[in-house]
Symmetry: C3
Subunit: 138 residues, 3 copies
Amino acid sequence: MKSYRKELFFSTHKRRQLINITPEVEACLAESKIQEGFVLVNAMHITASVFINDDESGLHQDYETWLERLAPELPHSQYKHNTYEDNADAHLKRTVMGREVVVAITNGKLDFGPWEQIFYGEFDGMRKKRVLVKIIGE
Amino acid sequence: MKSYRKELFFSTHKRRQLINITPEVEACLAESKIQEGFVLVNAMHITASVFINDDESGLHQDYETWLERLAPELPHSQYKHNTYEDNADAHLKRTVMGREVVVAITNGKLDFGPWEQIFYGEFDGMRKKRVLVKIIGE
Amino acid sequence: MKSYRKELFFSTHKRRQLINITPEVEACLAESKIQEGFVLVNAMHITASVFINDDESGLHQDYETWLERLAPELPHSQYKHNTYEDNADAHLKRTVMGREVVVAITNGKLDFGPWEQIFYGEFDGMRKKRVLVKIIGE
């Protein structure tokens, strides 16, 4: 069994932002030379997400509106977590979106359906944060 | 390390439908002859889900009602994604339910608790769609 | 490839409770002697969750309030599942929080960001329930 590990770094210019990281994950997979196995991609921070969905700007605006409805940022005072912090909503938004994805590797490629793309979902950004890519296989 | 891959196909007769796919996944596992490892089962489409819960019809009706409350289908015009499409709600519903499950394999069986069953959750159906089963182990 | 399996048992004194199980998972990993691989930690019951977030009591109160807003327990009669049972809300809450986490293992340690902790999320407790820890790697 072979294994591979890399950290990816992101610093968004907005509090909330979605970034397509599929090319970075594909580059890791090529570097690993693993042909069959699993890749785990996870946010290393608990106010961010890694998820798979469509790279379509209308849908990304829908995510913003929808997450603000399910777990609104304001008023900050509505959350017990927000005594010394203001990011309780980001913890909840990341919970809806998920921490991680596991993707099959087949013949050295991400084994994806037609529209699957991997996103980093930042919900408390404007600072340097990390994503872990770990691959195991042969 | 051994690996195994199979695609399962589903075409529902309703827009939204939950299908118990545990027998199909067990058949894949038997065919793989893998005794110890992990099986990844994921929707290959971004408006469908694979998740684990109870095979109980009342609960399945509760899921329908609850998902319609969290991410209603109508009016289609409430979503920016719905310019040439009408399935933004299906992207959001799948986000709540999750893309994938990873299940342990022990002694050649799905290592499940008493009521765990694997479901395909379709939220934009009435056309042929795919689920990936990928197994790694020994 | 090596594999390791252990069940952890929990019996909460409240219907809903969050328990930090990171030390138990670290003990499993040490016992497994696996240096590189993946650990899967999943609830074996469908009204409980395993998830990763912050060990901060204010946030845990926010989770309770938020989950009660998204999927309220009462009245029990609002759910079709609640004919002979009263835990439909627990199935939905666990759906939001997720069944499982997959964590990378690097150099014999959980490969975590600064604040990541693994929690057992119980939503229908006061009875003995199980979590599965399964590790594969080398």
